[in-house]
Symmetry: C5
Amino acid sequence: MDLTTLIGLILGFAALIGGFLMEGGHASSLIVGPAAIIVFGGTFGAVIIGFSLQELKTVPGFLKDIFIDTPIDYVGAVDKMVETADRARREGLLSLESHLPEIDNDFMRRGLQLVIDGTDPELTRNMLEMEISSYEESQGLGVEIFNAAGGYGPTMGIIGTVMGLVHVLGNIEDPSSLAPAIAMAFLATLYGVASANVLWIPFATKIKTKTARQVTQMELVLEGVLSVQAGENPRVIREKLLTFLPERERSRMVMNENVRMGM
Amino acid sequence: MDLTTLIGLILGFAALIGGFLMEGGHASSLIVGPAAIIVFGGTFGAVIIGFSLQELKTVPGFLKDIFIDTPIDYVGAVDKMVETADRARREGLLSLESHLPEIDNDFMRRGLQLVIDGTDPELTRNMLEMEISSYEESQGLGVEIFNAAGGYGPTMGIIGTVMGLVHVLGNIEDPSSLAPAIAMAFLATLYGVASANVLWIPFATKIKTKTARQVTQMELVLEGVLSVQAGENPRVIREKLLTFLPERERSRMVMNENVRMGM
Amino acid sequence: MDLTTLIGLILGFAALIGGFLMEGGHASSLIVGPAAIIVFGGTFGAVIIGFSLQELKTVPGFLKDIFIDTPIDYVGAVDKMVETADRARREGLLSLESHLPEIDNDFMRRGLQLVIDGTDPELTRNMLEMEISSYEESQGLGVEIFNAAGGYGPTMGIIGTVMGLVHVLGNIEDPSSLAPAIAMAFLATLYGVASANVLWIPFATKIKTKTARQVTQMELVLEGVLSVQAGENPRVIREKLLTFLPERERSRMVMNENVRMGM
Amino acid sequence: MDLTTLIGLILGFAALIGGFLMEGGHASSLIVGPAAIIVFGGTFGAVIIGFSLQELKTVPGFLKDIFIDTPIDYVGAVDKMVETADRARREGLLSLESHLPEIDNDFMRRGLQLVIDGTDPELTRNMLEMEISSYEESQGLGVEIFNAAGGYGPTMGIIGTVMGLVHVLGNIEDPSSLAPAIAMAFLATLYGVASANVLWIPFATKIKTKTARQVTQMELVLEGVLSVQAGENPRVIREKLLTFLPERERSRMVMNENVRMGM
Amino acid sequence: MDLTTLIGLILGFAALIGGFLMEGGHASSLIVGPAAIIVFGGTFGAVIIGFSLQELKTVPGFLKDIFIDTPIDYVGAVDKMVETADRARREGLLSLESHLPEIDNDFMRRGLQLVIDGTDPELTRNMLEMEISSYEESQGLGVEIFNAAGGYGPTMGIIGTVMGLVHVLGNIEDPSSLAPAIAMAFLATLYGVASANVLWIPFATKIKTKTARQVTQMELVLEGVLSVQAGENPRVIREKLLTFLPERERSRMVMNENVRMGM
């Protein structure tokens, strides 16, 4: 389970609903069917028009990414690359084949397979870079879809509210029903703004930040694989890969290194 | 028929109108001539000013693109390129000429024709790249036109609403007509926001996403044509073209490949 | 006369005013001096501050561009370049001098003059590219000025409306004058939003799209002039220049070519 | 005095205040202390937080730039560069030293000094380019500061208005004070929107357009200095520098040239 | 203590609250629990969803950066680099080792360590550039987080206000409670807009401007370290590093230089 998605959703909705209840409101008055149909139906309709069926089929996968934790272990990746470089120097590139199944990271495994197959270094770089940019593009689609929903949400809210007011003002001779009807109209705006700002836009941000971390790791692995292929010194490889790490990870890394050195 | 355009439009309008009816509104109160004239006439006028007649003549073509399905078969394109590379290696580049008419993809056919004509590889690349960027620019025009309409829609809605209020307030001595008149004024905002967010902006997104897929396929074909010209190994070509595919297509591709291998 | 500017303006204003009249409003109630002074005076003042006198002096020229048609004939330019290449091959570069006065296109004439003068190809390219980018920058100024006006318009409308409301609320003891006074206040918003969305922003778009077409033609001519200088085959030049054309022009072009071939 | 800054400010404020007076308002009702404190204090506070003391110290200098005219004489710069190239060819690069004090343009003087000192052409280019980009960055700071103020202004206006309404509604039992109090609340929006759109944003635009002209001149001088160093033909230099000029300046330039030629 | 953060916050809040008190409001009426819960809880929830735990853990560090002064001494860095270049020329690169502990600037020390270790100049440049871009990315995260909060703030304010109005209108039969309840609803907008524009957005700007200054210094040091490694003349190094300085620092720098020369 992705912890911050969970905590953020609970905190966000608890704050909105809790604040409303503290003011003395009744939770039931926040649930109005027609407003929900207008806002969510309208948002989904507008999103669906803009994309193809194949693109929309990726949405469940993105939702899984948002809710399931996918830890990224930069330090582990650096350690694995250095260990591999070490083995390649001592036992030769071909010896890596038997150790491939131990590697969890798909991208690292595919990269090392290319090295073992004796692929030309330039082609290895091109194919791995192409894979990274293809991954970025696939993920960018998720960002686009959720951001589209985040853009349509509030405007569908406005549409719902205006429709509600049209209805209300058409029945203005019955003043007793006026205020609750206006309240109902406002709920459309509430649904639109809240869904955009507590769900769709934060979801798009989540995909973007997860992708950025994943891409940094892939670039680190790409550099490492090419260094292994070039037969560089494992110590120099470690130094080079270190510069890919975000500052906050680097201190941890350096500590690990010192421990290794002390062994 | 483009499925998602159809489903999205039906879902979107069903949600907006259905929600309104569920609230107890009458569909007839959603139709007001003057508001429609102000919003749609104003939007079309503003869009027309910004472009030339020749550019505006492309709009029906873009609408066709939005409503008619144009399936893109990455896997088929890769298979066709690999098959062509295979034939070129076995029977020579000139043998491709007789098979050109079997190729559906215009861009692939033009590219292979250049290869058969013995065009210099650098010039082949330049001309195909120029064609891709010229295609992107032509499609970008459609995105611009529909986005312009999406921008003007809501502002024309505001203009209609303000005009309605000006009229209403000028006749304020007759309070009985006040509320329905205000409702009518609000319809201008409704038309403006709804047309922008259920029609124009999703249409622009549709053109953009269709173009992106088409361009990916064209780049794949460009790479394939140049590889055929260079006489590369069909297996390596398959590997290289594979990296152009979105992740979701790749698994299907790899499966196909395995089937082929097994033959 | 630029047809779409004219049609767009007539359609836009006819829709806005016609819709208002259909609702039963009086055209006279749309004209309020003070609101117009606030909105237009404020917009012009804010625009003037941001630019220099020399830059503002270009505005009449841009207005002329917006209202006067400047047809761009890609096909004619390609034909002219191919014809010139043909003559240069048969009669030599110097023979072009006597035909220069027949060429309408200033940029083509200047480019060919450089070729006739024996300017180094690299310098020819640099000077023509510099001229293109200098043209783009000059035109970009017009886009900036009209977009600035389009940005200030609605905010000046808000200022006028707030000022109107301040005045109205200060005289609230006289309720009979309340409604028409509010209507007058709203007119400021109407003027601001309408001037921005029917005049300034579409005008900026017009300059941008006209410039884009002009620049495409200049790039086509630049490529053609360099090909003439390099003494390339006229048929290959035609093929190359063809890729600059927007798709919609290309079919026309190819038809012309076939007619020529048939001769 | 910068003419357009002055005219724009006078026209802008005259239109806003004049329109208000024409509607029958009293100028005194536009001045409300607390609203001004909220809007201007809030804007300045928010701007100050975002920048360092050293950066904020540049604001008076930018205000001087906005109000004091700094004419840019492209034609004069071209003439001076050509004259210098002429002298350098006839009398040698070292002869320029004695004429340096006659040159008003600091950047041109520093560039020629590098040439006289025999600096390597590549290093000369790097140092002058670095100086241009450092100048652009310094000026960009002013644009950022004024744009920040232009962004905070209207939001501080909203804060002031909401605060005013909070106060008003808290004292609603006293209806006689209601309307003027609301008017006062609106003044916060008025101050915020007007200060942003008549002062801060136009000021930022002014810095941007002045910087663009200055940078064009610096690039022209850079090209000229390098041409002098390379000992190019003064006539060719004039041709090359001519392409830097905005179209509107070029005709003037060509005229000057013809006059010179006629001498 | 960062002076401008402190002054800006005090000035901003003093202006907002002071203006409110001057209007005759009671400070107590600005404090409403439920509105604060909705706005701040909602903002934090939405921000938390979008980022990972590790990324959110950097927030306290960024807050420290915003409130603690981190003076950047360009002139001191130039002086130190020139002094180091001087020593390296006189006593050799290895002699720098003993002076490293005297250098405060971490980045300069790491760079010089690479030089002392005899790292290849190209690799030195790559590793230091990688470190700069990694630093920029880490800081960019802070800008993103605070800008996200600045975007969610006002929308959460709207949500709170709409919820308040829903509640108010649901209890409309009790008119005596109407006005204060609406006031309470407005406070949500107030909290949202004020927190975004006095805290989150200025904080993001602060991180951005601090990072820009830091990066300029790092680029200066990078250039200096490479010049030391290349054994360039200290006087030329000073000239080159001078061009990195913002204009306002350069005069100070030149003064220092003259003083040194006079020694």
